[in-house]
């Protein structure tokens, strides 16, 4: 048994060492896998804020993931084809600058989360799960049947977008970008969790009545958390699109929402590094089990079932001592 903090440090060390090793050994695909894990982790960190801290079981976070992806796809495809995004009333050009794309992705998915959250948060429990799922599906079908940006075919962006001073096509440099963003978001979310906002959010999760009776507007509190959560997942979506240089409606599918939830459960709900560990383990399972058998989903299902039924607290919960919440 180790303290959770040390465990987190070890996870971070691995996220540095494994890609470094891959560079030395010239195994770029390992870096690609690590990048994928880091991006999924980021999406999971976003959902974990709503789900873990806030107790808001969103089964539709694919909507923000996809929104981030399409923010990248649309901006970059316009830049690629030299067609302005809109000309009336003023000209907006596409762009292939990552920071601009991130900003747009964050704002767009935050707005979407504001809209969906404002409606969904009127419900609770299973209704909330289902209504968020339904909103996700709504966007899935919309992107499939809307022809402007490729419909089900999606959009291919032939070159990765640019980041000033870096060669983003070099796997390790792109990994670096994603990793630094993950670190920044983890730092921010950690501060957030300890802030009055985080205290209230988790407090309202533990006992809504109590939060209300000390004068906290729980609806607004949750809505803000939901928006931040969606924005983070949206940023992950933009990075994911850049990793694949491709976006498609699949990013909106309910399977993606389920996967993001799986990362959190695997790693440990409401734990800062839960989604990070969960995403990394999921990617490894996918990679190695996929090599084992054509029917590898059976094994994945069994493992998942086992974790849910018997390993409360996920992998981090299993490996670390119980630490008091908000210690310090």
């Amino acid at each position: 048994m180790i303290r959770e903090r040390y465990l987190n440090m070890m996870v971070l060390a691995l996220l540095v060492l494994v890609p470094a090793y891959a560079v030395l050994m010239d195994e770029p695909f390992t870096i690609t896998l690590a990048t994928r894990a880091v991006i999924f982790a980021l999406a999971g960190v976003g959902l974990n804020l709503a789900l873990g801290q806030g107790g808001l079981v969103s089964f539709g976070h694919a909507a923000y993931f996809g929104m981030g992806g399409y923010a990248m796809g649309i901006l970059a495809s316009h830049a690629q084809n030299y067609e302005p995004l809109m000309e009336v009333p003023f000209v907006i050009e596409g762009t292939n600058s990552m920071p601009v794309i991130w900003l747009v992705a964050i704002v767009a998915s935050a707005l979407l989360a504001l809209l969906i959250g404002a409606l969904s948060l009127r419900t609770t429990g299973v209704y909330f799960i289902m209504v968020t799922l339904a909103f996700g599906q709504m966007f899935y079908y919309f992107t499939i049947s809307w022809p402007a940006y490729g419909g089900e075919d999606g959009l291919s962006i032939y070159v990765r977008n640019q980041f000033p001073g870096l060669n983003t096509l070099d796997p390790i440099q792109f990994y670096g970008i994603c990793f630094v963003l993950l670190l920044a978001v983890l730092y921010g979310v950690n501060r957030l969790n300890k802030s009055p906002f985080g205290l209230a959010l988790n407090g309202a999760h533990q006992n809504e009545e109590r939060a209300l009776t000390v004068g906290i507007n729980v609806y607004r509190l949750r809505l803000v958390a939901f928006v931040i959560s969606g924005a983070i997942t949206g940023l992950a979506g933009a990075l994911f699109a850049d990793l694949n240089r491709f976006v498609s409606p699949t990013m909106f599918s309910w399977g993606v929402s389920g996967e993001i939830m799986i990362f959190i459960i695997l790693g440990g709900v409401a734990r800062l590094f839960g989604p990070v560990v969960g995403a990394a383990v999921y990617i490894m399972l996918e990679h190695f089990l996929g090599g084992l058998s054509e029917y590898w989903f059976i094994y994945l299902g069994v493992i998942l079932l086992f974790v849910v039924l018997f390993a409360k607290g996920g992998i981090i919960g299993g490996l670390s001592k119980k630490e008091t919440r908000h210690a310090g």
Partner: protein, 251 residues
């Protein structure tokens, strides 16, 4: 009433055919403990919910500190200074005692949308929380996880969290429930002190406790208040004896 802190006027609330509140009027005046009693199913919790804000009356009004708060939410009423404790402890069970108290302070200070500064290192929040814990005698239990507290301690913590709001009035739902005789006595003494800061509307099952500490008592039966008065008046009210204390009507 002139110095009424909380006044309920002609509240009506129906669930289908059931009339849970049937024209209830009630006042809580400064410095008093006003107990609300009534048999099970009389509509006590429905009334409390309407006063606290969880439920909107079909008609009638609730005024608090001279303002009509009928349309205000629970959170808004709390921010105006309506402190509340629950029959079944409503606390963040995984938080420490101090964290629960700080949660109250966060709500009171309106600092909910501060995202960056750690709440548990904020001197103002901590000071307010610790002051409240001191009042109820939990100052030595700050770091204990709430779920590990005894029943009585949870009650104390409930009161402490309510105190962080510096309320203008308290709404207490069966605070004595599950306390031993000793605990009840201590709490009674404490409430007697507290009422001078802010009057207390008390819903209580334990008749002895009510008679021991209440200044006034209202009796709720079938959604109506059948009597309001001092302890002695209520004790001797024949209607109350029949409807509530279950005595046969003298022939």
């Amino acid at each position: 009433m002139p110095d009424s802190i909380l006044s309920v006027r002609n509240i009506e609330k129906s669930f289908g055919a059931l009339k849970a509140s049937d024209g209830i009027s009630l006042d809580l005046v400064a410095g008093e403990i006003h107990a609300l009693i009534g048999p099970n199913g009389a509509g006590k919790s429905t009334l409390i919910k309407q006063i606290a804000g969880g439920l909107k009356p079909d008609s009638g009004s609730v005024a608090f500190m001279g303002r009509d708060v009928t349309a205000k939410s629970t959170a808004q009423r709390a921010r105006l200074g309506l402190g509340r404790t629950f029959q079944i402890s409503a606390l963040a069970m995984q938080y420490s005692v101090l964290e629960n108290a700080v949660l109250g302070a966060v709500g009171q200070s309106g600092s909910v949308f501060q995202f960056f500064r750690p709440a548990m290192k904020d001197p103002a929040l901590l000071a307010r929380a610790r002051r409240a814990l001191d009042r109820v005698g939990l100052q030595d239990h700050e770091d204990i996880i709430t779920s590990e507290l005894s029943h009585g301690q949870r009650r104390q913590l409930e009161v402490a969290v309510a105190l962080t709001l510096e309320p203008k009035a308290f709404l207490m739902d069966e605070p004595m429930a599950g306390m031993g005789a000793e605990g009840s006595r201590e709490l009674t003494t404490f409430l007697q002190e507290l009422k001078h800061e802010a009057p207390i509307l008390l819903v209580e099952h334990d008749m002895d406790a009510v008679f021991a500490c209440a200044d006034r008592i209202s009796v709720l039966v079938y959604g109506q208040i059948i009597a309001t008065g001092s302890v002695d008046e209520i004790r001797s009210n024949p209607q109350v004896r029949v409807a509530y204390l279950g005595e046969e009507e003298p022939v």
